[in-house]
Amino acid sequence: MTGIRFKSLVVTVAAAFVAMACGGNNTTGTGGAELAADQTLTIPIQDDVQTLDPGHVQSGVDITFTTEMFAGLYGLDNSNKIINMIATGQPDVSSDGKTYTFHMRKDAKFWNGDPIKSSDVLYSWNRAAALNDAYATVFQPVVGFDDTSNGKTKAMSGLSATDDYTVKATLTDAAGYWMSELAIWTAAVVSQKAITAAGEDVWWTKPDTAVGAGPFKMTERTAKASMAFQPVANWWGGSTGALKNIKVEIGVDQASAVKKYEAGGYDLVGMANNGPGPDDILRYKADPTKQKEENIYPAARTTWVNFGFTGSSPFAPKAGITPGQPTAGLSADDGKSGRNAFSLSIDRAALVDVACSKGATCTAATGGLIAKGLKGYVGDGKDPNAVFNASTAKADYTKWDPSGSKIASLKYRYNASAGNTKIAQNLQSQWKANLGINIDLAPSDFPTLIADRNAKKTPLARGSWGADYDHPQDWFDNLWTCDAAKVGHGGTEGYCNPAMDKTLATANAESIDKAIPSYQQAGQTLIDDNVDAVLFYGTQTYFTHTYVQGAGFNSLYDFNWQGIKILKH
């Protein structure tokens, strides 16, 4: 009797298991184009946003949400092309390229119903300039920017409104790149009413007062815990797409995020600069069933080893150059052999294998400092310094520093993170193995590294740049002009080439198509002078369930939420 009872129990349990396995989660969604009933997208991010105020936003995480909540005259589509948002079309540009006249739509509104007029555009742009945060330089071409950003005036004199729907801007010089800058979030329109009522620091933190003109609005926010967004009803810009709800869980580390993703708790991992960890990426790469959920996109970011060109840096062309003084066109370059040695001794293939999950999270850089895929990229294989050659490297090093005194106090500076630590340790190991020298690692937090780099106190450090818009001006003007080489500015090498600066100034004024050869030539100059040891270009990895369509990354930014839909699954 117990035997029969036991058997029937086993059968029942087995049947239950089978039923559960067959019903429920069927992720091999062959449901065609049928949309799921619940159009909610749930994603994880590791750290809370710093700010969602367009005048302050600078980190990759913040950018994703800000571009959905706010809109300006122009925006970027999924292929990074400039599209019209509040503007009705391209601006009228004067023949000397210094006067822009923008025409606005008459039906653009904030989500609280307030109409958007040219006065709002002026308020937003002047506010951003006055706040003078990281991206205020977007308005640098405008006449009067310097005084506004220094606090002397409240509004830029070059900005005016001819009528309620027309904005006129006068620039100090022609700037072919200005349109690219206007398409990013800093130029978005914000509501003076909401900001003054709620307060400058607080307005973006609460759903009721975070007023914008974008297709989505914030509906919930608990600091360091969660955020939620919903489409704006009857949005003036057209359809807001299929998604009805976007839920963001904050404080989830990479490993936990992937575990929860696999359990169905998240629809994708990777949006807002919060991708899966290198170990999970590796695991997915090796697993044929999981490979189709892994999408690796090239990211417009280059990472390199920064050589110091000024002060007491052993890599400097001559000792004692003050930052901002020319470092190119000198009679001799005493640091060149050293820079060669350090660059040629790095086997980038091994580095990428070890530090980038066998090549999943970065690709070896062979074409110069501007990342592959962007305008101004010099070309595959055009960087002879990026080729691994241990014997030449050793010879160069012995020539440069026979006694070992030059590297005695040299340390490799970098900002500590899991990925950077791995890269740093691999560099240290390769320099030891191939040059026979011991370079200490000196990690620090990011602000300290930036402070020291900008003060030109770091002869050997990690350097990296992610493009803000697809225009070489974004790279050169911030990193490699004589102005950037001054103390306190972002040209961390201190490299100053007056001849190259002249070429760049001309190129900046031209339209992008005419200017590309000049930018490429400048890029080649940087390679010839071996300004940095370029390591790799970044990638952005997404894990996306097959039932999520329309999500992705275009090397600079996430795809718009309007294009994402959840299929039946």
Partner: protein
């Protein structure tokens, strides 16, 4: 509550306040001597924008002034504002996360005390039997395993193990918010302290039981055995209660690592993150909170003494 007890409580509260003050001021001063700040960004830094932020947080004032203003804030319950996540007030943040950590800590303590004490009593009563040897051996292993090792094994067991055995049906959902997410981190956290409690309970019970009058009564029969156990327990528990204070401190400490591993949004994780992000306002706020919390926990434990041992009086 006698007058003596009230005085004692008063003295202890004073000590707690003093401790919190001293410790947090050391942290405050130490942290404000450091170069650099949390405001720089990768792009060309705008000195004037940085100045605005510095002024907003009052970092341009001499540090004694900052300290006094911070102290005044603390007395009103305001721990300040986060340096990194602007607009986020620290006090509500700390309170919210403290609740999470408290839940985790509570269940870890429940596990610790239940397992540790019951096994300790059993092992003492059945001294030198197989149960005793096995339990004692396991206890040594227990407090030789750092909590992150315990956590690793548990995660391996539950996530990979259950997942594989049940063919994908049972899944340990790593995270926080659901009741089923509590056992694994709580056990990881509570295993090491439970080994300590086990050993102490056993040793303490043994001391009481070994006394002659107990042995005599013991030999007399089952009923009296239960009475004896209950009687012995009261005395045996006193040393155990003594270390509940440090055990609580240990659980609070251990929760830092456990929260880090399991991604639990508690105070420990916040502490680690804020050190990494150089968000010193949060670091000081969390640390001050911890100092007060631990002080109160120890005080409460000490107040339980007189209940167990009427000879002890304040």
């Amino acid at each position: 509550m006698t007058r003596g007890t009230l005085i004692y409580i008063g003295q202890r509260l004073l000590l707690i306040t003093l401790t919190a003050l001293i410790v947090s001021s050391i942290v405050f001063i130490g942290v404000h001597q450091l170069p650099g700040n949390a405001f720089l960004s990768e792009r060309s830094p705008n000195p004037s924008a940085e100045q605005v932020l510095v002024h907003h947080y009052g970092l341009d004032r001499p540090w004694p002034v900052q300290y006094v203003s911070w102290l005044t804030g603390v007395l009103h319950g305001d721990l300040g504002e986060s340096l990194v996540n602007r607009g986020v007030k620290i006090t509500p943040l700390v309170l919210r996360e403290a609740r999470v950590s408290a839940t985790l800590g509570f269940w870890a303590m429940v596990f610790t005390i239940t397992l540790g004490m019951s096994l300790g009593i059993l092992a003492a009563v059945k001294q030198n039997t197989l149960l005793d040897y096995v339990a004692s051996f396991c206890a040594v292993i227990g407090y030789s395993m750092p909590s992150f090792v315990t956590a690793t094994f548990l995660v391996l067991l539950t996530v990979t193990g259950f997942f594989a055995w049940s063919g994908g049906l049972v899944y340990e959902n790593i995270g926080w918010g659901k009741p089923e997410q509590i056992p694994v981190p709580a056990i990881s956290l509570g295993l090491l302290p439970s080994a300590i409690i086990f050993r102490l309970t056993r040793a303490s019970m043994l001391e009481v039981i070994r006394q002659d009058y107990v042995r005599t009564a013991w030999a007399k029969g089952l009923r009296s055995r239960i009475v004896i156990i209950r009687h012995a327990l009261r005395n045996a528990l006193i040393p155990v209660i003594t270390i509940l204070g440090p055990i609580t401190t240990g659980v609070i400490t251990g929760s830092i690592v456990i929260e880090y591993i399991f991604g639990i949004p508690g105070l420990g994780k916040e502490f680690i993150n804020s050190i990494a992000n150089r968000d010193y306002n949060v670091v000081i706020g969390v640390f001050t909170f911890y100092a007060i919390l631990v002080g109160i926990a120890n005080l409460l434990v000490d107040l339980v003494y007189p209940i167990l041992d009427p000879r002890i009086r304040y």
